[in-house]
Symmetry: C2
DNA sequence: TATTGTTATACTCTATAACTATA
DNA sequence: TATAGTTATAGAGTATAACAATA
């Protein structure tokens, strides 16, 4: 799969007129970011932290972290799967998934049921409350979070960004 | 600052011909990602993990983590700054920066010197070995890491991606 | 013998309070 | 009194080994 083509328009403004003396490495206030400003990994990390921070804030009314939201979403879209399958899909290690599920289940958002086919595995399902909470969360994410991102970048750019990130995760 | 305009070209391929029966939620192998596939935060996190993983691998010859690399870069571009300034610029909390510097200094990559102006603060500088190591690391990053990212996305897209990520970190 | 869920554990990151030495 | 560096500490997130129940 290819990524939407991008037409650069806004080149970095040519060196602002040097006022008086050639200025040294920095203005004693701002530090020089140097090559860091071109490092994709650095920009990626910074953006990710900011986006998660905003997500948390937007979804605060239903008290869900990004990770918890992703679990509920996956349970809703894949009812009847077991812990290993859900965890693996999200890149969560099975041992670490136990406490996560404990938290969600103790809040009455999802339910573990022993499978009758394979009595080793736990079938996972959202409860009604879990479904309702997820719906509320989805609306909050769409209207408060993603909408503002789309506004910031422009919808076409948001889609292109998503495509590039997915491509990196998949093919890099 | 605005972001380079993007012209989408590759829309998601229209629903592949449904072969026989309408297929259920999943094929019992692949899970349905559902709305997760559209969540920018999720894509951001996944891409960031992959990029850091690759960074680590590419820079393995000089044994630097992304965070350590960013510190050395900043020291090189801003000699004579103190711990508070460097840490704050990178979003590292001062208490957590102490152990990081201990590690770099014990490897002979940088040096703390008490400032003669303000004897509370430590002036930070790269050692010759630190500078040499940074140069090696920069070459590894450029030729092994960033070059492959540029190859994957296309250079124009890579630049557009960087601009959007920076914009999110700055303005979102 | 292999797999599912689990426990225990450890290591990294991140976050806060409080200490010391300077200012 | 405020600030720089530091210590201690606690909490997430992530990683591995090993166990009981089941296949």
């Amino acid at each position: 799969m290819t990524v939407p083509k991008v037409t650069p328009i806004a080149k970095p403004p040519r060196a602002a007129r040097k006022e008086t003396l050639a200025e040294p490495a920095s203005v004693a206030g701002e530090l020089m970011m140097g090559e860091l400003a071109q490092l994709l990994g650095y920009a990626l990390k910074r953006a990710q932290l900011r986006v998660f921070e905003d997500f948390l804030q937007c979804v605060a009314p239903v008290q869900l972290t990004p990770a918890q939201f992703s679990v509920l979403l996956l349970l809703d879209n894949n009812p009847g799967r077991n812990q290993t399958e859900i965890a693996a899909t999200l890149g969560i290690l099975r041992p670490n998934f136990v406490a996560m599920l404990d938290a969600l289940e103790s809040r009455g958002l999802c339910q573990r049921t022993r499978s009758s086919n394979d009595r080793r595995s736990h079938i996972l399902m959202l409860t009604d409350h879990g479904r309702a909470t997820l719906m509320r969360a989805k609306k909050l994410v769409a209207t408060r979070h993603e909408a503002r991102l789309s506004e910031l970048l422009g919808e076409d750019n948001r889609v292109a960004l998503l495509a590039m990130l997915a491509k990196i995760a998949r093919e890099f």
